[in-house]
């Protein structure tokens, strides 16, 4: 598969700058003996409410001076048992629950859920719907990565990238709003199709975004990639080897930063991803800096995919033409008896599923996002709806990544994992 190693011409030594020129690192004084202070271990709570935890997360740290001896994450503050709620809702009524999990990339969750249900029911969506969903998912990959970029930069003290990134996010919010009517709680998908087809002129707005977004990304890149402070804070921090990363279940950019070229879009392609021309960026060292490089490159690749998807967007209906799955049009409902009956049955009963279970994984912005649905014969509600949460598994590695680092590095490691607590706690 096509991969690109995202190693740049930046020296790996903290004292080396771009092109191998020596640069003064303000962070690490060399050859200074460690002063021998008497220290004692102490227990520090970071969070639950703290801007650097990126959500309602509590990190219980045992510190020796400023060195982290152990970290125990405490999660569950946002637990609202979406999976239990899902068991009381019909298949389509669950869609609004999905975007409330990862509110940083809601369309990916909308799509992943209905894709799993459709696979369970054996529904093949239309070609137009497939391409529209690819557009939605890639757009939200940029959306999620931009939030990560801004907040991570601010955690290492860079304020400008935050403003630049959020300016671009605001434009995607606008695209969300004109597509779905909502900025965050999109709920754009339905089993067998989308809530609505693309509005008139939406693709032009998207094209306008894609024309100028790479410039901003390049500006942020110039601000951070060769920045001595950024390099000093991220290189060699929170490194993990490839074999360990697989064993710890890391997925997404966090895994690819270690050099493993596992991407669900390439390894288990869905929606014809194998026919799109894009590369999967992989890192080498598995540290915070490589995770940064991977995500930056992924945004550029997503722009490429979006251009290709817009070029191949076919016409035709967006919903499957099956009256037992998709709602008929309002005009048909009001004029045609059959359509009205189908509409009534779909709203009151829901869509019956065959007996069985289905696990469908897609490449979310945080990692492998799996949706597992279990149904009984003819069930219009799931017996079990399970989300395989990428952030949850990624966060479980933080104890390993942060051990022995400084508290300030712990903040960087936590930021570089790109977690979203709404999905961890569900």
């Amino acid at each position: 598969m096509a991969t690109r190693t995202v190693e740049l011409e930046v020296g790996r030594n903290p004292e080396m700058g771009i092109d191998g020129r020596p640069a003064q690192s303000p962070l690490r004084p060399f050859d200074v003996p460690e002063p021998d202070f008497g220290t004692e271990e102490m227990l520090i709570n970071i969070g639950p409410q703290h801007p650097a935890t990126h959500g309602v997360l509590r990190l219980i740290c045992e510190l020796d001076g400023e060195t982290v001896m152990s970290v125990t994450p405490d999660i569950g503050y946002l637990h609202s048992s979406f999976e239990k709620l899902g068991e009381y809702r019909t298949w389509n009524q669950i869609v609004p629950l999905t975007d409330r999990m990862d509110y940083l990339a809601p369309l990916i969750y909308n799509c992943a859920y209905v894709m799993s249900v459709e696979k369970l029911m054996g529904i093949e969506v239309t070609e137009r719907c497939k391409v529209v969903r690819v557009i939605c998912m890639e757009l939200d990959r940029i959306f999620g990565h931009l939030l990560w970029l801004g907040t991570t930069a601010i955690d290492v003290g860079a304020f400008t990238p935050f403003l630049y990134a959020f300016q671009q996010r605001e434009r995607i919010y606008g695209l969300h709003e004109s597509l779905t009517g909502a900025r965050i709680t999109t709920s754009a998908t339905r089993v067998g199709g989308m809530m609505a087809d693309l509005p008139v002129g939406w693709l032009n707005s998207l094209l306008g975004f894609l024309d100028t977004f790479p410039n901003t990304l390049h500006e942020i890149d110039r601000l951070l990639t060769g920045n001595q402070i950024h390099i000093g804070r991220t290189q060699g921090v929170g490194a993990i080897s490839a074999a360990e990363a697989i064993n710890y279940g890391l997925t997404g950019p966090n895994l690819r930063a270690t050099g493993v070229d596992y991407d669900v879009r390439k390894d288990r392609p869905y929606y014809d991803y194998e026919t799109y021309d894009f590369e999967v960026p992989v890192g080498e060292h598995g540290d915070c800096y490589d995770r940064y490089l991977c995500r930056m490159e992924e945004m550029r690749q997503s722009v490429q995919i979006l251009h290709q998807a817009m070029a191949r967007l076919p016409g035709g209906p967006i919903n499957v033409q099956d009256t037992n799955v998709s709602l008929p049009s309002k005009t048909d409902c009001m004029s045609d008896m059959e359509s009205m009956i189908h509409h009534f049955k779909l709203i009151t009963d829901g869509i019956p599923a065959p007996e069985g279970d289905c696990y469908l994984a897609i490449e979310g912005s945080k990692g492998e996002l799996g949706m597992y649905v279990v149904a009984e014969e003819g069930g219009t509600k799931p017996v079990r709806w399970r989300v395989r949460p990428p952030s949850f598994v990624n966060l479980s590695t933080i104890a390993k990544l942060a051990e022995g680092h400084l508290v300030s590095d712990l903040i960087m490691i936590n930021a570089s994992l790109d977690i979203v607590l709404g999905e961890i706690d569900r």
């Binding site: 369970l120 069985g356 597992y372 014969e377 079990r384």
Partner: protein
Amino acid sequence: MTDRPLGGLDAVERGPLPSESGATSSFVSIEGESDHPSVAALRARFGSAIQRHRVSAGDQTVVWIDAAKSLEILTWLKDDPGQKYDMMSDVTGVDYGNGRPVEVVYQMFSTTHKRELRLRCPLPLDALEIDSVAGLWHSANWLEREVYDLFGVTFKGHPDLRRILMPQDYAEGHPLRKDFPLRGRFSRAEQTRRALAQDVERFYGAQELVEGGEPQQVFARPARDSGAEG
């Protein structure tokens, strides 16, 4: 499971009870050959410990295994050169309700062979325990804690079996079990009373960090289920 009289909202809280037709009767047991290379290898090696398998959702192979041999089977699947399922994507549970067994589901992926496999392991309600695989895959650590928290399945040999999403002193049981009402076992008044009576200081001390300790006794579990081997 509730001991208070059934009120008007209980029908809502009980929600969709599965049909009375027992799950086992509706499953199609496929004993023949499967396309998936791991199935034949598993049957050849473990024989009767492999209960049945089927193809679900078009192309996904599911294998039901005996809980007693789960650790042996999973160790082999991870280490055997022909299998090499080095990534444990997901560990979760399924409760069908009506007294039917709770099933623990393992979703695995092999980065070497680019194959996925799903194992399901039925556990009768009076013996909800299974060997932990957290020693094989670190990713199973938190995932098993979540299954313990939400389904009440005890993972024997887990290094740190504590609740993870619910509070440590949550006394209403395991939320994802079908016998758990949607709005909780306690009334709103009781839930509020307990919330107000909490000693907040206690949540910020070190004592809850003791790892490998005895898992807490939880509500509505028979006494003999308590205690995982630390």
